[in-house]
């Protein structure tokens, strides 16, 4: 870096207050999500065009059954699932990074996704052995709740292992994440052997990450958990800001640190778990989205969390559109798209800030 007499300013006026810029960014992101949503509704293998449907709607003509099914039973639940999953992944990434005080903490990278996945697979495979009565009550909620629980336990273990006296060792966090991820992967592998054919198909879809299985039923099971987590996240914003100065300083600023950490861990687990339950392992959203936003508008969580939800939702919709177009009429699992796009961005982040791991 060049040593200018006044050093490097953050490049935004003289005051260093980036809140106006953050507000503009958030407005722009709202528009972005709406455009992505419209594009997503108009995209798909069935060849139903949004323009035709709109024209019919305006002229008061009835939609064909086919159009109605494609639009309302296939694309709409897929759109909503994509938005919620993208928002959840990005927000849980941002919350986890704030909690661990480190920009590399991401539920996907440190094994929380894998832990949630293991629990979901357990629920899929062993759920069949549950007494029918319990199964009837738990129903569609079994898998999302299992994933939430798995994510919660993994986050707790991770936090215990890697954080001493309020300080997170990045190396320990990443290594613990690798261990937890490997363990979950191995246990999931064992389960594959006792799965039947249908379960096996579910599991494969799962490992790659896909929105193809989105339905109203699945959405109804997972959406409440994701919505709750997304609503809880903004309540953490001030506390996460304080935590950036350290646990002691946060407490002196009036943050009830322990309570806030518990809430943050629950939020991460709920958002990650439910997202994993409906869509499998979709990587890199949780780390790339908050990082890009911090570059643009700074790390203030009061703005970062809502912006992450929006950018995460929009980017996931875009990735989903790409996954449907690139080898149409077949489609690619979306996890492959986010990995191909997100992986290089992640490496670029590491290149730009080599020191990041030593923080």
């Amino acid at each position: 870096m060049v040593a200018l007499p006044w050093g490097r300013s953050a490049g935004h006026g003289a005051t260093g207050d980036r809140s106006d810029r953050a507000r503009v960014t958030i407005l722009a992101l709202v528009v972005f999500v709406m455009l992505a949503a419209i594009a997503s509704l108009g995209t798909g293998a069935a060849g139903v065009s949004l323009g035709d449907v709109l024209a019919k709607w305006i002229s008061g003509e009835e939609l064909s059954v086919r159009e109605r099914v494609v639009l309302f039973d296939i694309r709409l639940p897929r759109l909503l699932t994509g938005m919620l999953v993208g928002a959840s992944l990005a927000v849980s990434g941002a919350v986890m990074q704030g909690l661990f005080r480190n920009p590399l903490a991401d539920p996907g990278i440190v094994g929380v996704g894998a832990g949630a996945g293991l629990a979901a697979v357990l629920a899929i495979v062993l759920g069949a052995f549950l007494p029918p009565a319990i199964l009837a009550v738990a129903g569609m909620h079994l898998v999302p709740f299992a994933a939430f629980f798995g994510g919660w336990v993994t986050t707790l273990i991770l936090y215990r292992v890697s954080t001493r006296a309020g300080r997170t060792s990045v190396a320990t966090m990443l290594l613990a994440g690798i261990a937890l991820g490997a363990l979950s992967g191995a246990l999931t592998g064992i389960l594959v052997y006792i799965a039947d054919d249908q379960q096996l198909r579910d599991l494969t879809f799962w490992g790659l990450g896909s929105l193809a299985g989105a339905s109203w039923a699945k959405l109804a099971a997972a959406a409440p958990i994701m919505v709750l987590a997304l609503l809880a996240a903004p309540m953490l914003a001030r506390a996460l800001n304080g935590l950036a100065l350290g646990e002691g300083a946060a407490a002196h600023l009036g943050v009830a640190v322990q309570r806030m950490k518990n809430l943050a861990i629950l939020t991460v687990a709920a958002a990650t778990g439910a997202a994993v339950a409906v869509s499998g392992g979709i990587g890199f959203i949780g780390i790339v989205v908050p990082h890009l936003l911090r570059l643009v508008m700074g790390p203030d969580h009061r703005f970062l969390l809502p912006a992450a939800a929006l950018l995460g939702a929009g980017l996931l919709l875009l990735a989903d559109i790409i996954s449907r177009l690139i080898i149409a009429p077949a489609e690619l699992p979306i996890g492959i798209v986010t990995a191909v796009l997100g992986g290089p961005v992640f490496l670029w982040i590491l290149l730009r800030r080599r020191g990041i791991v030593d923080m």
Binding site: A14, G16, N241, L245, G246, G248, L253, G298
Partner: protein, 262 residues
Amino acid sequence: MLEARDISVTLGRKQVLHGAGLSAQPGAMTVIVGPNGSGKTTLLRAITGDLACRGTVTLNRQDMRALPPHALAERRAVLPQASVLAFPFTVHEVVRLGLTGRIALRPDAAQLPGRALERVGLEGYGARFFQELSGGEQARAQLARVLLQVWEPVQDGIPRWLFLDEPVAALDIGHQLQVMHLARRFARAGGGVVAVMHDLNLTAMFADRVVLMLDGRVLAQGAVREVLSDQNLSRAYGCRLRVSSPPAQGATYILPQAAEMA
């Protein structure tokens, strides 16, 4: 009135404080001095609730540790000895973190971070990244944040407190004086200040009351003249010290007190 009694703290296997205690008045500057490792930071952290400890800490006879964090944050602000910032905040954004509680509701709240930066001599630094400041500049930016949290030394007739751990350790002599004057002004306006200090000259110059520590105990506390005596200092610092004696052979020495004489 702040009173800490019989504070004992064990860190790891080591008992660091053995029944230390101090009392401090609002409107006055109370300074804790003592050699390295004598437990100054630990005592301050016990008083501010950072550490679990035995003993009692009361503010106006009210148990300080019974207050919830948000209520405490309205009463006192704490400048830690060292801090590491996790994300790339600008200086303005760091200072703005001090804008908590009722102060954030003031109509001029948006201007306050800038004014706090002016007070510590960092006007124009708002847009810089905190992590790219020098150590001394970071210390002053943190001080601005802490000042902002207790912007009015007295609120609704209730004095507020500043706890500072070595606020001037990283600063040049000019900024040391500036910060000490700032703390003194806070006290003169009716607030309470408890500061851990390294520098005995600055302590002698600015303290209203001195607490001298040694090996986790309070050796003496009271007025500057009584506590900072040849005998007390020699015992605490383990070398022969004499108060107010210029070095022999006229060696160079620069006392901050000289700044007051101009």
